[in-house]
């Protein structure tokens, strides 16, 4: 039943948020530290396990897939309930700070992408023949 999937999703989110909250308390921070991320890992691990043991039926999957498919409309609703007016009213300091940090972080994306050895790159297999020279 679809509700099994939705319930599994909800349990993962709640557990993740609780762990995130506890992590926050532990390091003395008034914020949820990675709760959503932990929930995502939980969902991936549990679904992997259930699939391998053949216990994740198609109707249950639909109970998760629905929420994932309604994600963009939810983001649109989120955008529509932002305090856009305050952001614009913040004045030049806020605007300059916001714009410059976005520009600089955009520029850092390709830099950090290049940092790690591209060993997981599918193209990397082309470099294997170089072993012959050794």
């Amino acid at each position: 039943m679809a509700i099994y999937g939705t319930a599994l999703l909800s349990i993962c989110l709640l557990l993740g948020l609780i762990v995130g909250k506890l992590l926050g308390v532990l390091i003395g921070v008034d914020a949820n530290v990675g709760g959503v991320g932990i929930a995502m890992l939980l969902l991936i691990l549990i679904c992997d396990h259930l699939r391998q043991t053949g216990r994740l039926k198609a109707p249950s999957e639909r109970g998760i897939a629905f929420w994932s498919s309604i994600y963009i409309p939810i983001v649109v609703a989120m955008a529509a309930s932002q305090n856009v007016l305050a952001a614009i009213k913040g004045g030049p300091v806020a605007i300059v700070a916001g714009v410059s940090v976005v520009v600089i972080c955009f520029a850092l994306v390709p830099l950090i992408s290049r940092l790690e050895p591209p060993s997981m790159d599918p193209f990397d297999s082309s470099k294997i023949p170089s072993k012959d020279k050794l």
């Binding site: 959503v36 890992l41 939810i74 983001v75 856009v84 007016l85 305050a86 700070a97 520029a107 950090i112």
Partner: protein, 255 residues
């Protein structure tokens, strides 16, 4: 008159259902616009998010509230639909179907991008604050926190005892960042190689604003959302941790 009142009372009572209808219509209209006006070059979801932000602005002007269009009574359900509860549920759901090893492979770049993202944001924000005459370490750190996210700013500010004006500025800086990321990501995506899970994960760690990353990636390629959201969710916590401690001490030592 009575007709109008009963109409309104239904919409208010069933506010979440009203929100589904209004947002559904907005998304549909956006995809039609994307198809007809730009032949699909400008993604429908990007247009929908832009319309959403525009609605939020209109809501702010007409009501003077802080929740955008959701401050209009009939449309209050949009606040629930786009609030943290359903947003987080949907974000976690996008992880469904993601392979575990894709995360494992990118672990290190995730950590590097997170740390770099938080520190660079504080640094840039503090420099801008200094340039505009906010030269005490408390204000610089708080505005720097705002340049991280609009949560890190006020959390840092209240821990350090910043003035409310500086706190408001830091929130505004964070909001500008989040909105800019939502709008501009689809345009810059191809120039920064944002087309695979690994760069999406790095992008999430660098930008950190969950709403910005989620909106920006959704408008670029919905398949990338779980990867970016994954790292972004750790960002605010890390920022709140480093801001009032390490970053403040460093800034105070320099200024």
């Amino acid at each position: 008159m009575e007709l109008l009142e009963s109409f309104e009372s239904v919409l208010v009572k069933y506010s979440l259902v009203t929100a589904f209808a209004v947002i559904g219509f907005t998304v549909w209209m956006s995809y039609v616009l994307s198809d007809r006006l730009t032949h699909g070059r400008f993604h429908g979801s990007a247009i929908a998010i832009l319309i959403g932000l525009l609605l939020a602005y209109i809501g702010g002007i007409t009501t003077g509230g802080s929740k955008g269009i959701a401050d209009i009574k009939v449309l209050s359900g949009i606040g629930l639909m786009g609030g943290a509860m359903l947003r987080d549920l949907a974000i976690v759901a996008t992880a469904f179907g993601v392979r575990m090893d894709e995360f494992r492979k990118t672990g290190l770049s995730g950590v590097v991008s997170l740390t770099a993202g938080v520190l660079v944001s504080f640094f840039v924000g503090a420099c801008v604050a200094y340039a505009f005459g906010y030269r005490d370490p408390v204000s610089m750190t708080t505005i720097g926190g705002g340049a991280a996210t609009y949560i890190v700013g006020p959390v840092t500010g209240s821990a350090l005892g910043a003035t409310s004006k500086v706190m408001a500025l830091s929130v505004a800086a964070g909001l500008i960042k989040s909105i800019l990321v939502m709008i501009t990501t689809p345009f810059v995506a191809k120039y920064i190689g944002l087309d695979n899970p690994r760069s999406a994960l790095i992008f999430g760690g660098l930008m950190g604003t969950t709403s910005g990353v989620a909106g920006g990636l959704a408008a670029t390629d919905p398949k990338l959302v779980p990867y970016g959201a994954m790292t972004a969710t750790f960002y605010t916590g890390l920022g709140c941790l480093l801001g009032p401690s390490v970053v403040f001490i460093v800034i105070r030592a320099i200024v």
